[in-house]
Point group: C2
Chain length 283, copies 2
């Protein structure tokens, strides 16, 4: 592996393999052509044309969401996608706008709608330099089981803002109290566009840094992380370069941390590949 390989993995999107999903005049998703074809059976909800799909269900957010959910249930029966049944995501043309509909998290990549999450770099400085808290994902996670992960990360579901998601996940995943998570500093976002088994993952991660005191020890409460380790940041970066041990997008978040904190020297042959590869411009 190389740094650039991890960036490529998260940006393997190929425009020729997808068609836009359009609501009104706005694109809200990217449908892989096989997924678009699968929607042709639901003409009351989606109008499938050769080079685009229109959302045609009409009504308020609840009504459209219910119509889309019926489609999702049918697709679940065909094993085209999993339904998570515990997390609902808002679908918006752009962040901050009103949702067009809400959908089960399992269907987000099927429709290729943009998915927002938070990611927290929890770090410590001491005589040995910068250290990062790294978690290991539980073996029963749907996505990337057993992979190494950031201290805190999670999707932004319906009803939660960015800061509220961070506080909730920080508490559940790592036992970070409110008084500590308030000190987390928002430091930008990672954006990528990736084809996976289900469809297109249009990912936006709001990134926070939190310098942690020496006495802090993370404690997982929700069973999603099996253990935590405080690793020298330099070791994290070399392990990213050499292995596939980290969850796909966590490689990008840690590379961004390393870059911002001066932990990748400018002489590194991949310096500009990293600096220019972590924030894909929106289309």
């Amino acid at each position: 592996m190389s740094f650039a390989d991890h960036i490529r993995v998260c940006n393997n999107y190929d425009r020729t393999r997808v068609v836009p999903l359009i609501a009104g005049e706005r694109r809200i998703g990217w449908l892989r052509r096989d997924n678009a074809a699968a929607l042709a059976r639901f003409p009351a909800v989606f109008a499938v044309e050769p080079d685009r799909v229109h959302l045609v269900a009409r009504g308020d957010v609840d009504t459209v969401s219910a119509a889309v959910d019926e489609v999702v249930e049918a697709l679940v029966l065909e094993n085209r996608l999993p339904k998570w049944r515990n997390e609902i995501f808002d679908v918006m043309p752009r962040w901050g706008e009103k949702p067009v509909f809400r959908v089960d998290r399992g269907a987000v990549a099927f429709f290729g709608v943009r998915a927002y999450g938070v990611d927290l770099n929890g770090y410590r400085r001491d005589r040995g330099g910068v250290h990062l808290w790294v978690g290991r994902r539980a073996p029963d996670k749907r996505l990337a089981p057993n992979k190494l992960d950031n201290l805190v990360a999670g999707g932004i579901g319906n009803g939660y803002g960015v800061a509220a998601t961070l506080a909730k996940e920080a508490d559940e995943e790592a036992g970070i109290p409110a008084s500590l998570i308030e000190r987390a500093v928002p430091v930008g976002a990672i954006t990528y566009l990736m084809e996976n088994e289900i469809g297109i993952r249009d990912g936006v991660l709001f990134v926070y840094d939190l310098e942690l005191p020496e006495e802090f020890m993370p404690q997982n409460r929700d069973g999603e992380v099996v253990d935590f380790e405080l690793m020298p940041a330099a070791n994290v970066i070399e392990r990213i370069r050499a292995t596939d041990d980290f969850k796909f997008d966590v490689n990008l978040v840690f590379l961004d941390f390393a870059l911002r904190h001066g932990l990748i020297p400018i002489e590194d042959p991949e310096y500009l590949a990293v600096a220019s590869g972590l924030r894909r411009p929106f289309d």
Copy 2:
């Protein structure tokens, strides 16, 4: 203005207005179509085809550079570009590779070859929050006269590496001694692609942060900066949002600083536009 306006100004490149400049099998520049046409008079150096231009001069770097320089001299006589005569840039397919030729800085945008520079954010923390040192460019600067600028910035010329350029410019532009500039932290790069009067500016800025002591006072030595001011970072950001007072690409560098230091709240409607707009992926 808005943050996104500044990003758009620096990324107004339009692929349909240019053709690639190719050396061997590799693209080394983007030639605006009028510039490509102007090269047809020099068939011993450039082979102009409808959808591309090949560098056909052969020999070692010195020989090819001399051949290109004859073309540059002829174009200067036609007022197609200025010659600076004091800074020579290396032209490389990719950073770190061997140069194909060297060229006067004034011709860099004409050929649309990638231009590398350094940019230093000099900041101070005190009870009033983060402050940034801001310079004002001299009225006789070729590029962006009178505009507000970063504390230190400069192009990376032939014979200088990134750190050496930073140290040289820090000394000349702001009187920062070697003992202080050594503490500057490399924190990434800004990349953009912009059409200007001369051609295409394919810009890469290596960005450094330097926390400065209270007693530090910048002193310009080369006449390129007329004065310096220590501004609250929040004022810099609001002035960027509201005005065109800063040099075009300096807006992007300060926005990146603000983002990395948590000075732009996630609730800002332009947060994601900024986070995703400062590092254009390389083609």
